[in-house]
Symmetry: C2
Subunit: 385 residues, 2 copies
């Protein structure tokens, strides 16, 4: 994958950056326009076609200026009269029509629901519209790209995961204007929704110095228990492993909209570092959506393999597994890991072949992470880029 140094051109199908806020009516119109063009083609006895951005590594670029992953300008055209395209064309049409309906009727659906809702045997045939959810999922991604937005703005969503805690007041405009502070829900916190678009979920007030994003639910509970958020004026977000889209979107908004620094705290292993990199510059699979999902300004606070030495944690490390070794080798090559700090860290991992978990800090004491490890690093700005 090439690392391009040029500023991004208007290479999106719709020719513009993705918008943080966009009226559902505008999105519905874009979908409608696609349909109208196809009807126009049919009326003109032309082969109807559907154009979307080409995905996959061959069209993914790392934007050195904006520091995020993005898609190149290659497009894919699907023709109804091409026998290899016809099935997918049909699927694209029914998903587009249903999504348009959701937007018009102010409904939302999980991507698994739209799959089930549209699955049926086509009249007069033995052909099902879909056999597997992967088919409808692929078509949804096509449509997101074709209208230059993200599925959440098409009223679609994946499963929720992740928790929010701290002195932040949110309002849900679609739920009686519920207004609540995520630091006043006991130690449980707020369960982050699958869709947290600004049109519906408003960030009313945040009183914090930074956002600390935490890989494991257990470490999140530790920090809540230690009253870390209050003592350090921090917002805590736990991702529970790889972050769900709703959680990525919320972190992105806390950074962009509420202007908070974002520090990421994961296990010290290639998988944790990869979770960080997805939060920071986006993922290859969703490169076109980085505008709304990535947090290029995020910093990495730990764990690092240097922590193992600094805090004498050798005894509570584990051997890296094959998958981690493979991942570390791949990461060494990614353009966004081409800086001396990460190159050194990844090479260290590959040479020592050990990993360290966040919770291993309990080896010092339960409160060590909250009283020493994190505050010290934040004070010294001891981050990886």
């Amino acid at each position: 994958m090439p690392a391009k140094n040029s500023a991004r051109k208007s290479k999106k199908t719709a020719g513009e950056k993705l918008r943080e806020k966009e009226d559902p009516k505008i999105i519905a119109q874009k979908i409608r326009r696609i349909g109208e063009e196809i009807v126009g083609d049919i009326n003109k006895h032309k082969d109807p076609e559907f154009v979307t951005q080409q995905r996959g590594r061959g069209n993914v670029e790392f934007d050195e200026k904006d520091k995020l992953l993005t898609l190149g300008d290659k497009t894919t055209t699907r023709n109804f009269l091409n026998i290899g395209h016809a099935r997918k064309f049909m699927q694209t049409m029914i998903v587009s029509a249903k999504t348009h309906e959701y937007l018009e009727e102010n409904k939302t659906a999980a991507i698994r629901e739209i799959y089930y809702e549209l699955k049926h045997t086509i009249g007069g045939s033995k052909e099902n519209t879909f056999e597997e959810q992967t088919e409808s999922d692929g078509v949804i991604v096509d449509l997101e790209h074709a209208v230059n937005s993200i599925r959440e703005k098409l009223n679609l969503h994946a499963n929720p995961k992740g928790t929010l805690y701290g002195d932040i007041t949110l309002r849900d405009r679609k739920h009686n204007n519920d207004t609540f502070n995520a630091g006043k829900l006991g130690r449980g916190g707020w369960s982050i929704m699958s869709r947290v678009e600004p049109e519906e979920i408003e960030i009313l007030k945040v009183d914090a110095n930074y956002v600390l994003v935490i890989e494991t639910e257990a470490m999140y509970e530790r920090l809540v228990e230690e009253d870390f958020a209050k003592k350090n004026r921090a917002i805590l977000v736990s991702t529970g492993g790889q972050a769900a889209r709703g959680t990525r979107r919320l972190i992105h908004r806390l950074h962009m909209e509420a202007k908070l620094p974002v520090y990421m705290f994961t296990d010290g292993d290639p998988y944790g570092w990869y979770i960080y990199s997805v939060i920071k510059q986006g993922s290859m699979a969703l490169a076109a959506h980085s505008d709304l999902l990535a947090v290029p300004g995020a910093k990495y606070i730990g764990m690092t393999l240097d922590d193992v030495e600094t805090y004498e944690l050798k005894n509570v490390t584990e051997r890296m597994k094959e998958g981690d070794i493979k991942r570390a080798k791949e990461m060494l090559e990614y353009p966004w890991f081409q800086n001396s700090e990460w190159q050194r860290q990844l090479k260290k991992a590959l040479s020592e072949k050990i990993r360290i978990e966040q919770q291993a800090l309990a080896n010092k004491s339960l409160s060590f992470v909250a009283d020493e490890y994190l505050p010290k690093k934040i004070k010294a700005k001891d981050f990886l880029p």
Copy 2:
């Protein structure tokens, strides 16, 4: 495993039913007493021993009267001077001492944290206290049984998972007495903590007809979106698959303490039915803890394979996998599935070899589950036992 028809005898080590509420000081004293007895043995030059309940299928019984799984009266004795027991004896002692410290100091820890906190190389040797977390986990279970309580009351916990939504007001006594209503947190809901013991988390008020426990987060989001809780005066709990202990404890309390009926809604497959059975009568692995975790009065609302016919959903079923077939065969034999309804359902699954997901109801329409499927079943009391 035998299905005993006798009322439970006082066969627990401590000779009594588990208590919903118990002063941490009492638990600390019980641990202290174990330590004192061992010190006494040492002073008398006797071989110190640690006694706990025997676990595993050989000692699990189904209590026909209370309708829950329970442990028989077999015990296991571990002697320090037995070379095969010495390591585990040492582990039991350090976990007991540390747990006692947590209780005295009002600290809580995840079971992974206590593992890391106690892991070290024993002075003058190359022996580590633990090599794997499974070792400390096993010792924790021994200790829970020895003091006749659950780990949550020993200030230990596993990872949190699960979400709560509806007109229920909770208070967290250990967090500024935060008082909040889980129906006023937008559509996200409250992220259920890993420990929800009544000593800390109080159920102040519930305004509901029943609790609906939902297997998938996605179906939970659907029901929230449809305003199901308000329209039906229901409390919604999503488990996100197999329920975490904190979530089981909360459902148990809603049933026992707030006297609410509990209806369970899972995918229509042996795995979903198994999740239900663990909620209802407890699990074999934690048979001694059913008093505080099980909900013997729970009912099963769906999905069933009859739903497939009633609602013409054949087209959105899937083939059962090998694991499901194996599980269904095992479940046929369990004493608590010895009733005509479940025998019929399990045999139907084994003969048709299909499964149906909750979300497949979207095939009717997105709101079908909320407007028709659930209300109709609840009105007709169309449950499986």
